[in-house]
């Protein structure tokens, strides 16, 4: 294991966003011709790091130095980094669906003379690149006609066309099935044979074990360790997990004396397929239940299917061909539309409050009443006086910091916007509240207030389902925690027996055998 042949060195990288230090003094060194894995929990800073490297965040917006092939790099944009042979393939593929494979490969880099495209060169070079990545499709095929797995290969072919030296793959197998994932890993091995260095960002520990030469673990924006996967010491999954978790438990959580009653909601054998790629199960036979006055947590890494499970139960707002049963107070119910779900006493507060949760150009009071306007109206006419009183009540109870309930929601801070979302659903008086990442993007003080509200809801006899990527939050708030991986419920731990390590082990647990 020689370390003298270093292709990339990043030193003391620090990247700050307003209010958050996303990266803190990160160091990374990648050996030429190796596959270097980067792993860490959701939000650890993996994606931020490669965005710094590829120039998405231009030089000057971060601190620290980057050396590529012993030369300092000051990339202003992606073009600069691609020019040097660093190509990043994002999780969300960036292909144009109505153009052909060949056109996509050479998009922005056309085989042309004097602005006129040379179709012979385009198609023959594309065919050669497709052979290199092992994709048996005609270069004329439109992107929309091939599956995600093959689209990924087109992205890699596109990278090869740019004479890539360092290929960065950000969660490349998150959207792939087992077969496509296996093929992708094979391809990475063969590219390694051709001398191409790769950085693989993933949280699938089995992939790391299968392909990585070295692994850097990142946690809370800091480099924790870099492990030699081919060394004398065998690196087990448990060993990796120990580095990934262990976020400090310094967030304070308000005390709650659980008073748990009868079962309120039970979901059985719930399966949902991807809305576009309908062959892929996003939620796979998931079952769970929640009782009166109980807070349960859903833990899972990116792509585990937590949000998809919640949204598909909440009025089929995600996915296709949902199947399974939902029981409310022991009786089976249907939740085919949001209105039906609300009528059965289910509320879902989204993780993406700006997109799905709020009307930002409307005032606070109208947002608060928007899910239960019927409670304020008779014969279709809204009682505006009552509406103001309701909004004022929630402003007081949840301490929404605003001069007036008539202020626009778009002007509020994230924490206060979240309180408006919560008010809206509390006013709808549900029995079950699904809270999806309720503290994402809000400051520590507001987080504590949200926790207090959640506890008050549970004390009031509501059943709460808390989806969170922060394990300490789940450990601090929940009576029971379900873990999900690749759409399946992989385990269930009571508060007393759960630790960050035990949860992470279940969150990364692969299915036994290959059922698909």
């Amino acid at each position: 294991m020689s370390t003298d042949n270093i292709i990339l060195e990043m030193h003391g990288i620090t990247k700050t966003f307003p209010g958050v230090k996303a990266l803190q003094d990160v160091t990374l060194s990648v050996t030429r011709g190796q596959v270097h894995a980067i792993c860490g929990e959701n939000g650890a800073g993996k994606s931020t790091l490669v965005r710094v490297l590829s120039g998405v965040y231009p030089h000057g917006t971060y601190e620290g130095d980057i050396l590529f092939e012993d030369e300092p790099c000051e990339f202003k944009n992606i073009r600069d980094s691609e020019h040097r042979g660093i190509v990043i393939i994002h999780q969300e593929l960036a292909l144009s669906p109505f153009l052909s494979i060949a056109e996509n490969i050479f998009l922005g880099n056309e085989r042309a003379s004097h602005g006129v495209i040379d179709w012979n060169a385009t198609n023959s070079e594309a065919a050669r690149l497709l052979a290199r990545v092992g994709l048996a499709e005609s270069p004329d095929t439109k992107i929309k006609d091939i599956g995600v797995g093959k689209q990924q290969l087109v992205e890699i072919a596109k990278a090869l066309s740019k004479r890539v030296k360092l290929l960065i793959l950000d969660e490349p197998t998150a959207a792939l099935n087992d077969e496509d994932s296996a093929h992708l890993l094979d391809l990475m091995r063969s590219l390694k044979g051709q001398g191409i260095t790769s950085i693989l960002i993933t949280h699938k520990l089995n992939e790391i074990a299968a392909i990585a030469d070295r692994t850097t673990v990142i946690r809370d924006g800091k480099t924790i360790e870099t492990l030699d996967m081919r060394g004398a010491e065998k690196i087990t999954e448990e060993r990796l997990i120990r580095g990934m978790v262990g976020r400090p438990l310094d967030n304070r959580f308000p005390e709650r004396q659980p008073n748990i009653g009868a079962e309120v909601l039970r979901i059985e054998d719930w399966t949902v397929y991807h809305p576009i790629n309908q062959g892929r199960k996003v939620v796979d036979g998931a079952s769970l239940s929640v009782r009166k006055g109980e807070v349960i947590g859903l833990a899972g890494l990116m792509g585990a299917g937590r949000t998809e499970l919640a949204m598909s139960v909440f009025g089929r707002t995600y996915g296709a061909n949902a199947s399974g049963q939902v029981f409310k107070d022991g009786e089976e119910i249907q939740t085919r539309s949001v209105r039906e779900a609300i009528r059965h006493g289910i509320a879902y507060a989204t993780e993406d409050r700006k997109r799905y949760g709020l009307n930002l150009i409307e005032d606070i009071k109208r947002n608060i009443t928007s899910a239960a306007l019927g409670k304020l109206s008779s014969r279709g006419v809204v009682d505006r006086e009552e509406e103001v009183l309701v909004a004022e009540r929630y402003r007081r109870e949840l301490d929404i910091k605003t001069p007036s309930v008539e202020a626009l929601v778009g002007k509020l801070s994230g924490g206060n916007q979240q309180k408006v979302v919560l008010s809206k659903w509390i006013f709808a008086a549900p029995d079950v509240l699904i809270l999806d990442e309720p503290t994402r993007g809000i400051d520590v003080g507001a987080k504590f207030e949200i926790y207090t509200i959640v506890n008050a809801l549970a004390d009031a006899g509501k059943a709460v389902i808390l989806i969170s990527s922060e394990l300490p939050e789940l450990l601090g708030m929940c009576d029971r925690i379900y873990t999900l991986n690749q759409g399946r419920v992989t385990g269930q731990l009571a508060r007393e027996e759960a630790t960050q390590e035990s949860l992470m082990l279940l969150m990364t647990k692969e299915k036994e055998g290959t059922s698909r």
Binding site: T317, R339, I342, R355, E362, L373, E385, S404, E406
Partner: protein
């Protein structure tokens, strides 16, 4: 006084549009040497622009929900033609023809609403098709013109309220009474909503701004009715428009349906996730637009005294322009009936003033185009400054 200026500063757009209307009126009053505000011209201004105001009411709802309706001009010709045929060929009493016309409007609106709401075709396409379909059908049905409509029907747009209370000092007492009642009604409703707000310690506009606003509206209503009372009296169509404005201000501001329109236009995804039945609301918006187009058709046909196949040409553009000049957001979610009405009046005053000055109609068109562009540009710049600050 600083509270007032601060308040005005925050509501530039809201008051700016009123200011623009007043400025344009004053400007043309000067340029036309006082002809613009002659009683007959004021009555004609109302009668000639009633159709824009009626269509703009429906169009505000369509645009706030994030759609557009290009077919209203053709709908006016089509429904107007049918109403004319009912009276002329079938010999139906005019009131029956008017009522049937409203029903047809609802059916036409339901046709378009079905494609937009339930099939999911963008309103731009559906109503572009409607524009062609209903224009074609109007020509098929009417040929060119059906004239000789009943006097009662023609009075809708050309008549005045009967002078049943006589004259005092050369002023029509009916008109003056309506003016006084309107001012009192306005003052009462404003004062009541203000006191409700105060009761719950909500932010209210400063007292000076409140009174200033009230005085300005009272003066506007007062001078309008005062001028009209010196001539033929109160145009019937003004009563019609006034009632529609009141009803739809209520619908948009106070009903669940109105709320859902703003919710859909403001953030469609959030509306769906809040359980709003977006399909039904969208369908309702287009049915409503059809009924208002039918009212506009009746008003237009009555004004001309004949059903004309070419009627309603480019009415859709007038209505859309009135909405945008009146502060309706291009991206949906924001807009008011009152704003659209002022937008319609600005366009109307421009039309009338330029006509009195005998400006070439081609130039009139170009000038109106610039006004529209300026109004929306002003809006965008304002918004950007507000969000940038």
């Amino acid at each position: 006084m600083t509270a007032v200026t601060e308040y005005l500063g925050k509501n530039v757009r809201q008051y700016g549009i009123w200011g623009a209307l007043v400025a344009i009126v004053v400007l043309f009053e000067v340029w036309t040497h006082g002809l613009l505000l002659m009683p007959n011209n004021v009555a004609a201004l109302v009668q000639q622009n009633a159709y824009v105001m009626i269509l703009a009411i429906g169009m505000v709802m369509v645009i706030v929900a994030g759609h557009i309706d290009l077919s209203v001009g053709s709908m006016v010709a089509f429904i107007g033609g049918l109403v004319g045929i009912m009276m002329d060929t079938w010999g139906l009493p005019w009131l029956a023809a008017v009522l049937l016309g409203l029903v047809i409007g609802a059916i036409v609106g339901a046709w378009q609403g079905y494609w937009v709401a339930y099939v999911g075709i963008p309103a731009f396409i559906v109503t572009l098709a409607g524009m062609l379909i209903f224009r074609g059908l109007a020509i098929v049905l009417v040929g060119t013109t059906i004239a000789g409509l009943p006097a009662g029907f023609n009075a809708i747009s050309n008549g005045y309220l009967p002078n049943s209370l006589g004259f005092v000092a050369g002023r029509d007492v009916v008109t003056v009474t309506i003016g006084v009642l309107a001012i009192l009604g306005l003052a009462f409703s404003q004062a009541r909503s203000r006191s409700t707000l105060r009761k719950h310690d909500l932010l209210v506009e400063p007292m000076a701004a409140f009174i200033g606003k009230l005085v300005m509206f009272a003066a506007l209503l007062g001078s309008l009715t005062w001028v009209l009372s010196g001539s033929s009296g109160m145009p019937i169509v003004l009563i019609l428009v006034g009632v529609l404005v009141l009803v739809y201000t209520f619908v948009l501001g106070r009903t669940v349906f109105g709320r859902h329109i703003y919710a859909i236009g403001g953030n469609l995804h959030a509306a769906i996730m809040s359980g709003v039945n977006t399909k039904r609301v969208n369908f309702g918006i287009f049915v409503n637009m059809g009924v208002l187009a039918a009212i506009a058709a009746i008003v237009t046909t009555s004004r001309a005294g004949a059903a004309v196949a070419a009627a309603g040409d480019s009415f859709e553009l007038d209505a859309i322009a009135a909405c945008f000049i009146g502060g309706t957001a291009v991206t949906g979610g924001v807009g008011k009936v009152s704003g659209a009405m002022i937008g319609a009046l600005i366009m109307g005053v421009l039309n009338m003033g330029l006509s009195i000055m005998s400006v070439d109609p081609s130039w009139q068109k170009a000038i109106k185009g610039f006004v529209l562009l300026l109004a929306v540009a002003f809006d965008l710049v304002n918004k950007r400054r507000a969000s940038g600050a």
